[in-house]
């Protein structure tokens, strides 16, 4: 109509800059173990694995929290249950006693990971179906309550180690690879993280993703164009739980240990901190947040055991001044680009 406002008719093709940055990031992540080896710092490789695992968990939470506006304070439930799937299957495998007398144990990563995803997804379906009837503070509280119920359940299950948790003597096997090797395990984590981030990148841009973002912004509007929000929120919550379960299964393999700690509400809090630190509702934010938190924890604990005393103010500064977490900070370093 008016020719003084020039608007793009269609979204620009994937910006070269974004593509380049993504490739650079991928190259850096692939080169990391070799670089650490060369620098004589091989101990940093497992740390990087931890970052990747938490990045998967935080990205999953971010789908519900950031993109869907569902502030879940109970994602430790899915994370922990994913871990316990690995632990219980391993115990059944070594003890040669099928789980519940029905399901044979296994130490194969290609079975344990999908199993963890499935179980966490089913759990998310149940918890989500009930919790999503509420919203706001009630939703936060009810998801927290479900996670704590699960925490106390596993504390009381002496078969699976109760309070002490259970040790997994060997990491799950994948083909003929030596999963015990730090670099090998790192690449497994990297592959899983790459797939998860790729999936989320597609999902948030899909029809489903736009509906989810619409529901976050205004549920009444979405109902008025004929969309019943509940089903979409539940689907997003289940996908989010599945991702967290996957991360938990990797974490159990990484630590070769599962305990109720993985289910504790402080774990939910940690995941939330990563999302907020990195940038709520951004794709790469959770990776940045996970990296920042794990690094901070590692560096600060070498100085003092009261490291959270420092973490608090850092988190405050990030929330108050970055507008969109570390991701927002990065985006502002590149002029002419928005945070998303």
């Amino acid at each position: 109509m008016s020719d003084n406002t020039i608007e793009r008719a269609a979204p620009a093709p994937l910006a070269i800059g974004t593509l380049l940055a993504t490739l650079l990031l991928a190259a850096a992540l692939i080169a990391l173990p070799f670089a650490m080896q060369a620098l004589g710092q091989p101990a940093l490789v497992p740390l990087a694995s931890r970052v990747l695992i938490y990045a998967v968990a935080a990205a999953s939470l971010n789908l519900a929290l950031g993109f869907g506006g569902m502030v879940s304070f109970g994602h430790a439930a899915f994370f922990g249950v994913g871990g316990y799937v690995v632990g219980i299957l391993y115990q059944s495998y070594t003890g040669d006693e099928p789980f519940l007398g029905l399901i044979p144990g296994t130490d194969q990563l290609l079975i344990t990971l999908p199993a963890a995803i499935l179980v966490a997804g089913l759990l998310a379906l149940v918890i989500g179906a009930l919790s999503l009837r509420t919203s706001g503070v009630q939703f936060i509280m009810i998801t927290l309550a479900f996670a704590q119920m699960l925490f106390f359940l596993f504390v009381s299950l002496k078969v699976y180690g109760g309070d002490d948790g259970m040790t997994i003597r060997r990491r799950n096997a994948l083909f003929g690879l030596n999963t015990r090797d730090d670099a090998t395990f790192y690449f497994i984590c990297l592959a899983v993280a790459a797939v998860v981030f790729l999936l989320f990148w597609r999902i948030v841009r899909s029809r489903f993703g736009l509906v989810l973002a619409g529901i976050r912004q205004n549920e009444r509007r979405m109902a008025a164009i004929g969309i019943a929000p509940y089903r979409y929120k539940l689907a997003a919550f289940v996908i989010s739980g599945m991702g967290a379960g996957l991360a938990g299964a990797l974490m159990a393999n990484y630590m070769r240990f599962v305990s109720p700690d993985m289910l504790h509400w402080t774990k939910s809090g940690e995941l939330m901190i990563m999302v907020i630190l990195g940038g709520v509702g951004t794709l790469l934010g959770p990776l940045l947040g996970a990296a920042a938190l794990v690094t901070l924890e590692t560096v600060l604990t070498s100085w003092t055991e009261h490291w959270q005393l420092v973490l608090g103010p850092v988190l405050l500064l990030v929330v108050l001044f970055t507008q969109g977490g570390l991701n927002g900070l990065l985006a502002r370093l590149r002029p002419g680009r928005s945070a998303r």
């Binding site: 608007e7 999902i203 899909s206 489903f208 736009l210 205004n218 008025a224 969309i227 019943a228």
Partner: protein, 250 residues
């Protein structure tokens, strides 16, 4: 005579001691613009909200083409051909105008459990949405974020979204409220261009617009319809004059 498109019988809604809708009977005939007027607090928006299913009524029947829809939820009523605009804009502020309309087109095109293809590159959805924006005279601002739009533009966007739902019956809740004179004229022109193609129930305080557009007018006072008729009949109705027009509101 065929059954009216919308038929409301004995609709009642109480909020505690207050009877907001007090046995409303209303017929909207296919193809007409039916205006609903009445003083502030008469229950016009409350009525619209019940027709749209965002608020449940206590008693009475709501039929669309003879089919009872009173028990259906809002999205189901939208699927049967109802759409509304809001007096207080209900938009997606982080999205562009085009996104807002494209989502309505998408919702109309079946379920959205599609997880992989980029919806913003779906030319089917985008071109339909652009047509609706063009019809509302908003093409030049298609990529502008809703939060950056003026009130008038948001109002027009409300209208474009409602049309993208391809409704049989459009419930318009004060589409002119807060618009400047020129914008108001533009809205009137848009509504009269649609006349005959989309049936409309129009709640509006701007009497010039109502008399210009409406085929029939119903007057709502204290939750009751006290009169229904053509513009002349309503203007000459003594009851309406005392209850409403006489108050100097017109």
């Amino acid at each position: 005579m065929t059954a009216p498109l919308l038929s409301v019988r004995g609709l009642r809604k109480r909020f505690g001691g207050l009877v907001a809708t007090d046995g409303v009977d209303l017929d909207v005939v296919e193809g007409e613009i039916h205006a609903l007027i009445g003083p502030n607090g008469a229950g016009k928006t409350t009525l619209i909200t019940q027709l749209f299913g965002e608020l449940t009524h206590d008693e009475g029947a709501i039929r669309l083409s003879g089919e009872e829809i009173g028990a259906l939820k809002t999205p189901q009523r939208v699927a049967r051909g109802l759409a509304r605009t809001f007096q207080i804009n209900q938009l997606l502020p982080d999205f562009s105008m085009l996104d807002n309309v494209a989502l309505a087109v998408q919702a109309h095109a079946g379920h959205s459990f599609r997880f992989f293809a980029d919806a913003r590159r779906d030319e089917g959805l985008r071109s339909r949405a652009r047509q609706h924006l063009a019809a509302a005279g908003l093409s030049h601002r298609a990529e502008t974020k809703v939060a950056d739009l003026s009130h008038g533009e948001q109002k027009q966007l409300e209208f474009a979204i409602a049309l993208a739902c391809e409704p049989r019956l459009l419930l318009l809740d004060e589409p002119m409220a807060g618009l400047g004179h020129a914008e108001s004229e533009q809205m009137v022109a848009m509504l009269s261009a649609l006349k005959g193609r989309v049936t409309m129930l129009l709640v509006e305080h701007d009497m010039d617009a109502v008399f210009k557009l409406a085929d029939r007018i119903s007057v709502l006072v204290y939750g009751r319809v006290i009169a229904t008729g053509t513009a002349e009949e309503i203007r000459d109705n003594p009851e309406v004059r005392t209850a409403y027009l006489g108050e100097g509101d017109a």
